[in-house]
């Protein structure tokens, strides 16, 4: 019994510790990287020093930030479209149960292949500009969001549905007042995972054909044998990805307060 208060007292400290350790880990990792790259005089095509990469990012900041804006636009627009499609499909299946037998296998079949496999076709159909990236990102995001939302809708307690029915609620009222809030935690998990997928798919598709964006910058830098630039673009992409992930995670914690 005496353990309980200790645990409670220790909890915030452990949280602080975790953050400190995380920062410490990153600092050590960067220092080791810098030390190895400088100490062994590694050529930039093997591993450039972190300081060189940061300097390059600063020097080429306008190119990189423009590219990051490009990629983020593609990722966010595709993400929103994909999330809407995913949620809509799950809603349709829930409101019209017979559609489940048609929609679920079809969605699974389309997604049993890595999304990137569709990119040549999508580039052919939608061109090299942004629309093809919207489609690719939406394709990747919609399936994840669809599955997690559907799982959330199905998780609802049968007795709660019966209670609302006894109040005279129809399917739509039950969806809005019960299924949607019940599904939110699972939906949010799907949405959070999808942020990183959205950026990855946007960058990969850019590498296969684009007029701009971080993937395009990486591809061009490889052609010009500028590996510091490749790393610079990777750093920026990683930061953009983390920011997107963090923003959605923050929204999730604000909205789903009861968990």
């Amino acid at each position: 019994m005496s353990a309980a208060p200790e645990v409670i007292a220790a909890a915030p400290r452990a949280g602080g510790c975790a953050l400190q350790r995380g920062v410490l880990g990153i600092v050590l990792f960067v220092l080791a990287w810098e030390g190895i790259a400088r100490g062994f005089h590694l050529p930039s095509y093997t591993l450039p020093a972190v300081s060189d990469i940061l300097a390059s990012i600063y020097a080429k900041r306008s190119i990189l930030f423009t590219a990051a804006g490009f990629t983020l636009t593609e990722a966010v627009v595709g993400y929103v479209i994909g999330a809407l499609i995913g949620v809509t499909l799950a809603v349709v299946i829930t409101l019209v149960p017979p559609t489940r037998a048609v929609l679920l296998p079809a969605a699974t079949a389309i997604n049993s292949v890595p999304v990137v496999a569709y990119s040549p076709l999508i580039l052919l159909w939608f061109g090299i500009g942004m629309p093809s990236k919207f489609v690719m990102v939406a394709l990747a995001v919609s399936f994840t969001v669809f599955l997690s939302t559907l799982a959330g809708f199905d998780r609802v307690d049968r007795r709660s549905v019966d209670l609302l029915r006894s109040f005279g609620a129809g399917r739509l009222a039950i969806l809005w007042r019960l299924r949607l809030p019940t599904a939110l935690p699972l939906m949010a998990a799907g949405l959070r995972v999808s942020t990183v997928r959205a950026i990855i798919v946007a960058i990969v598709t850019e590498m296969l054909g684009a007029y701009g964006g971080l993937g395009w910058v990486i591809y061009q830098a490889v052609l010009q044998i500028d590996f510091v630039q490749v790393w610079g673009a990777i750093f920026v992409a990683s930061a953009a990805s983390l920011a997107f992930f963090g923003l959605v995670g923050f929204a999730e914690r604000r909205i789903i307060f009861w968990k």
């Binding site: 307690d157 007795r159 709660s160 019966d162 006894s166 109040f167 005279g168 007042r177 809030p181 307060f257």
Partner: protein, 299 residues
């Protein structure tokens, strides 16, 4: 013009009209005749007959698994009885699903929505009816003290005790203003002390709100303490084993349970219930050695 006329006529005859509208319907609010329900090879309820008059408090007791919940699901409109069952509500024969939205139903678990405050949980039925959110919230706020929830209106369910959660669920049921209320073991999960407090409180609320209550329980004391009438159900398939009028004076106080009259009624109910409990015990434990099981249950 004609509409105005009939409206006036009704107004003029108002005191009579109220009783007249239910008079041709007979004195009963709900009638069940030969109610049966099978699930595959299991017959949950078979030939259940009972009628409930407006304003009555009827309690239903029975051994576990006697089909009490099936009966409630039918009356709540959630489950359709088998062909041949007769269900009449407000004097008119009807299908079970027509009762959806006409009976206020409270299941065993409180089933409060964790993302809604006490007030918002209480008004959910009114919200579904399409009433103004502001007005129903104000009404709920006024009802809080009566349900022992004063000052807790903006709390979330996880911040409340079990007894309070149950009172929020009851408040939700009361706010869905329907003549007939179905309460399915609402106090089953509470400790004995909270339970007796809640029973007395429920009688107070019932007296003030003048509703008809059908109340399921497996506690004989509770059934007798609350009810105008106790219906004892048989072992599965559920029928009416015994119907007992409880002629104890109201308002009822805690001492009632030790009065000779209460004990006399309790003995009658217990006897009937024991016989049925034995049947369902033997039916479910058919594999167990019966000679050993019998004497253990009998005293």
């Amino acid at each position: 013009m004609t509409i105005g006329h009939s409206g006036l006529a009704r107004l003029a005859a108002a005191p009579d009209a109220a009783s007249a509208s239910s008079a041709p319907a007979g004195p009963y609010l709900l009638e069940m005749k030969g109610l049966s329900k099978r699930f595959g090879s299991v017959t949950a309820v078979s030939g259940f007959d009972a009628s409930i008059a407006p304003g009555e408090f009827v309690t239903v007791v029975g051994p576990s698994g006697c089909g009490k919940s099936t009966l409630f699901n039918i009356v709540a409109g959630l489950e359709e009885p088998d062909a041949g069952s007769i269900l009449r509500f407000e004097g008119k024969g009807c299908h079970a699903h027509e009762l959806l939205g006409k009976v206020s139903f409270m299941p065993q678990r409180d089933l409060l929505l964790p993302w809604r405050t006490v007030i918002d949980n209480a008004v959910i039925a009114m919200e579904i009816e399409g009433r103004s959110r502001k007005a129903s919230r104000a009404e709920a706020r006024d009802m809080l003290p009566e349900f022992g929830l004063a000052g807790f209106g903006d709390q979330y369910p996880h911040q409340l005790s079990g007894g309070m959660r149950q009172r929020v669920a009851l408040m939700r049921t009361f706010m869905f203003k329907r003549e007939l209320m179905l309460l399915d073991e609402p106090f089953g999960a509470l400790d004995a002390l909270t339970r007796t407090m809640m029973q007395r409180w429920l009688l107070d609320v019932w007296r003030q709100h003048k509703r008809t209550i059908l109340f399921i329980t497996h506690d004989v004391d509770e059934a007798l303490f609350l009810g105008d009438r106790v219906i004892v159900m048989s072992a599965r398939p559920g029928r009416v084993k015994l119907e007992l009028k409880v002629d104890l004076p109201r308002p009822r106080s805690a001492e009632l349970v030790t009065s000779p009259e209460f004990i006399r009624l309790k003995r009658i109910v217990l006897e009937a219930i024991e016989e049925e409990a034995m049947k369902s015990f033997l039916a479910s434990g058919a594999a167990a050695p019966q000679t050993d099981a019998m004497p253990e249950v009998q005293p």
